[in-house]
Amino acid sequence: MISQRGVREPRTPLLPRGTSRSRTPRSRPRRLRLYEPIRRRSYVAIAIVSLCLVFALWAGLSYSGAVENLFLPTPVQVWQAAVTESSTGILWPDIWASVSRIVLGFLVSSVVAVPVGMLMGAYKAFEAGLEPPIDFMRYTPAVAFIPLTLIWFGTTSTQKLVILFIAIFFQEVLLVMDNVKNVPVPFVDMAYTLGLSPAQILRRVILRAALPGIVDTLRISMGWGWTYLVVVELVGATNGLGFQIEQAERYLNTPEIILGIIVIGILGLLFDFSFKALYAKAFPYMSRARS
């Protein structure tokens, strides 16, 4: 029997060490093995070491003078920028401005993308009618719409919402469509024989079966929001993390630029973690199925 992925082999060696068995690839001790799970502690340790290495590289390059501090400030300079920005009271309002912009863009996109994507996944006519224009929009760069939206809406918050919508929605709706298409057909057949109407099946079976996938899609969509945030805030904004980065650039204030980048990275990670936690909490049966 070939052991399934993720099933741990029993640890008891049947043969003494050094016999031919230990030379086969499957019983090689403690090396990198394809798909082999590792202990949680090792996983966390490797991740921490990796982060420390990046930090050490940064510190090394900046403190040694290999790269001038004007271009790459030291960690302490960035820390000081953080202290100054938060004590003068601009960091938190900027974070709030950016976060609310993203959350709004994400919510508006998702409120439209989930039902539309469901219809496209479940009904071929909706797919035929909507997929070509959506595919077209998906391949047009959202950034290219900035001049147009500035003419249409000026430097308003509507303009920023529209850009975020363009960046998020057209990808998101196609992923939701795929989530719905992946619902096993027998689930639907079964529901018919249990006497459900198509409308009931859409809500009680298709939506429910696609929901874990859809939550994953929402998480990924939120990620796109973070990617486009700075683009949106670099042009015609008066606050937000992107605006702050742009301001810092004018004064060659690299510590503040790096600070902005780090804050965006951390915020993005936090949202990602929240979605993963929500997923684990809402769909416990998914992890059981996997293990």
Partner: protein, 262 residues
């Protein structure tokens, strides 16, 4: 007496890119109340299509289908279905899966029905388990409970034990018979396993291939209640040999084996 299920001249033609394919031709079949009928045939004979037509999941191209004398139109709760694939909803517990088709009942009655039918399949202790926590055989037992809970006029089973290992399958057959002995529901059971077809059924309907048509309907002379030891009886083996002969010739002719087998 009107039969429970009556099929007359049922025809099914699939439109494919390479032209129409006649999957079923002129199928006549009746099931009386309390009768257990197996449908066997080589792969591709359309036996699953036939069952899906009776379930209302496919539309017959032509022919008459009556359930208790009333023409069949679309799927419905009057026919409880068990599929080969595991079709329990993974986000629902075993209990909630059984209750799923009973939304028309008040909550209390739903719970009582779920308990009763889980007990019949011997899984009351697993009422709160999710499908991923159950073995394949247990999942199919819950699926049977879910079909029975609808209180249908008949059961439709599409190779329900086909994905199970041989031991579990034989236990499931005995379980199904013991449930069936209680209230003698009409059952239409599709399988490619000849032993299974004979062991369970009162009559066997052997389908030929391309197009699927009724080759022979055979009475199973084995007394009830059945016991797995009967599978070694002379009658059983003679019948098995006969059915196997019917299917074997078909299979050899239609699957390109004829060039390598005699």
């Amino acid at each position: 007496m009107t039969p429970r299920l009556e099929l007359r001249g049922v025809e099914k033609v699939f439109e494919t890119r390479s032209g129409p394919v006649n999957a079923l031709h002129d199928i006549d079949l009746t099931l009386d109340d309390g009768e257990f009928v197996s449908v066997v045939g080589a792969s591709g004979c359309g036996k699953s299509t036939l069952l899906r037509i009776v379930a209302g999941l496919e539309q017959a191209t032509d022919g008459v289908l009556h359930l208790d004398g009333v023409p069949l139109a679309g799927p419905g709760k009057d026919r409880g279905m068990v599929f080969q694939q595991y079709t329990l909803y993974p986000w629902l517990s075993a209990r909630a899966n059984v209750e799923f088709g009973l939304q028309h009942l008040p909550k209390r009655e739903r719970g009582a029905a779920a308990r009763r039918f889980l007990e019949i399949v011997g899984l009351l202790d697993f009422a709160d388990s999710y499908p991923s926590q159950l073995s394949g055989g247990m999942q199919q037992r819950v699926a049977i409970a879910r079909a029975l809970a609808l209180q249908p006029s008949m059961l439709l089973m599409d190779e329900p034990f086909g994905a199970l290992d041989a031991q579990t399958r034989s236990l499931m057959q005995e379980l199904l018979l013991s449930i069936w002995e209680r209230d003698r529901l009409a059952v239409l059971f599709v399988t490619h396993d000849i032993d299974e077809a004979i062991f369970l059924a009162d009559r066997i309907c052997v389908l030929s291939t391309k197009p699927g048509r009724v080759r022979e309907v055979i009475d199973v002379p084995l007394p009830r209640p059945r016991d797995f030891a009967q599978q070694m009886d002379k009658d059983f083996l003679a019948l098995k040999l006969h059915v196997r002969g019917l299917i074997h010739d078909e299979a050899v002719r239609n699957t390109g084996f004829s060039s390598v087998l005699k």
